[in-house]
Amino acid sequence: VTRTATPRRSHAASSVQVGPASGRWLVHGVVSAGTTPCDPEIEVITHGDVAGLVRRPAPQSTRWARRALLAHADLLDRIAATGAVLPLRFGTVVPSREGVERDLLVPYHDAFAAALVTLAGRAQFTVRAKYLSDAILLEVLERDPGTRRLHQRMRAQRNAPDHGDRVALGEKVAQAIMATREADATVLADSFGKYATLASVQVPSSVEGYRIADAAFLVDLDRLALFEETAERLARRWRDRARVRLLGPMAAYHFADRLIYGPIEGR
């Protein structure tokens, strides 16, 4: 996969102006010129080989945000199922109609066009896996005699269990779940990685919530059957200890930055 990395990357949202938006044009994503979204609320602004998908946002309100967020996902995922679309972060606004072309499509034209070539015939699939809490707790106790002994010793104390012991027990359990999760995230990455052009496997920073990982893969649509079989196989293998959800086809939300700015460190 080749990519052009013209625009300079500063870090994520840090340099983006966040605050009451003066802009009135919400840009959902970028497609190849000639792609039609079939949505009357969306205006297509074309420059050269690329086009922005633009909506005129209503005044900000929670209700509007919810509807617009779902519409954002729906529009982009619908296009991604059959064609190429580069998703922008939800909430990206440009102050004028001319600005969409001048500030977005013109300076990024070549990078957008190259990214859309990479995205053609591919879509993102997201695998979300989460432990069944009781099952994983039993699993780590089963595997770690030290933790089990600590728990038994605490129960043997007839008086109120020692606070320090309780904290130590919880910490051991949390660490055991984290270690198990690292191993399982690797299984996940290895199982699906071979069917994907790009992969992003992220383990949550906290163990609370029992999430194993949120893993996104850019998959060739003609290899989708293999990918789906793999997901089913993994869900079957983990059926007593985790839930596995497969979402997609969806737009390449996890890979858009990488396609424009180049790879970043991390997995």
Partner: protein, 122 residues
Amino acid sequence: MTVVADGGRYLERPRSNGLADVVDVILDKGLVIDAFVRVSLLGLELLTIDARIVIASVDTYLRFAEAVDRVVLAPAPTTGVPELLEKATEGGAKKKTKGAVEGAKESAKSALGKDEEEESVR
């Protein structure tokens, strides 16, 4: 959104994206244009909730200790581990040790106007 096929027996394969999935998966993803000041992100307060705060506190550990007690002590004493596992699975992912991270995401979800559980989106 329409998906290509239903999942098999064990895989959850939702036919459409529920709000919970959209918030969790895509809210903070997608290309950020940062080279031009004139392109900006809408400053909706509810979208800036940082749902990825690292929580590793004593409280967290105490909740795990409590969860272990619950799991180990709850079933009848005669039950063996395989049966325990079955029971645990039936019980599903009960959110006994629900912590601040889930809480943050939930507040983002409810801020967006609807309290939608993932389980309802199958």
